[in-house]
Symmetry: C2
Subunit: 159 residues, 2 copies
């Protein structure tokens, strides 16, 4: 996938065009977006500002920074919402621009023992399931604000 065709590169090139609630934090190397599936309250996607396919395509310094940002974001989500567990996933099978999915998992989720992707595949087949998985129990603005508060408390760098 070239930079020209890359949806993450397009998004990152014009952050002010996005809704404020969708951009959680701009780190030096990555930008954290609030993900669509807020049944997993606090779910974020941390996209690398640099277009790269694999973690080892970053320089050592970039990779360390990016991974630390991912861990800090996870910690902030944990701090804000106290999930049972966090799931950290970098796939890129459809969009091969480095982006971490950070999914918090909760005790109330009957499918908490399975990867989220089984449920998300069901959402593709059913508008009702889609709606359930998109809607969180808090407004998106509030979820974003709480993660940002935690990031501030944790001294997260911005860039």
């Amino acid at each position: 996938m070239s930079v020209q065709d890359c949806p993450f590169c397009k998004k990152l090139a014009d952050l002010p065009a996005l809704r404020e609630e969708d951009v959680v934090w701009s780190f030096p190397l990555g930008v954290a977006f609030l993900g669509p599936w807020q049944f997993y309250q606090g779910y974020c996607v941390l996209a690398s500002r640099k277009h790269a396919r694999e973690l080892f395509d970053l320089t050592d310094e970039e990779r360390k920074t990016y991974l630390e940002e991912m861990c800090l974001l996870a910690r902030a989500i944990h701090h804000a919402f106290q999930p049972l567990k966090l799931n950290y996933e970098l796939l890129g099978n459809q969009v091969s621009h480095l982006h971490w999915h950070v999914f918090p998992r909760y005790g109330e989720d009957p499918d908490r023992l399975s990867p989220v992707w089984l449920n998300l595949a069901r959402a593709e087949q059913s508008p009702t399931i889609r709606e359930t998985l998109e809607r969180g129990s808090l407004p998106r603005e509030e979820i974003r604000a709480r993660i940002r508060q935690s990031l501030v408390a944790l001294g997260a760098p911005s860039g």
Copy 2:
């Protein structure tokens, strides 16, 4: 999950009891096991030697080391088998002891655009699918040997 009940802690406490083909590499902080699903040729699980639930439960130094080991393992798998893409996943929904799944994805896989978990869920229902996903096109010993060769070539540290 306590250390006493933890299947990874049990495994790590007695590595010599495992089949040689199952242990790919002992890093200073993690141990790489050859995973069961060798349809994803080179699939490894990198377990932390330290029992911890989340990445931020490690010290800064431990976390950096563990993440670098994960990236180096991914790079070695890529070097050995040239997959289309790598998937890096740390879930722990069932066993909350830090372990990375590193899944290489290949062009011949008709489901290459989806997370592996959809296929793996099918394997739970069907012995035929299970067998297909377990069996690689090379013997496990050979897959292990190739990843090890790549790790040596990349100067991977052992511990």
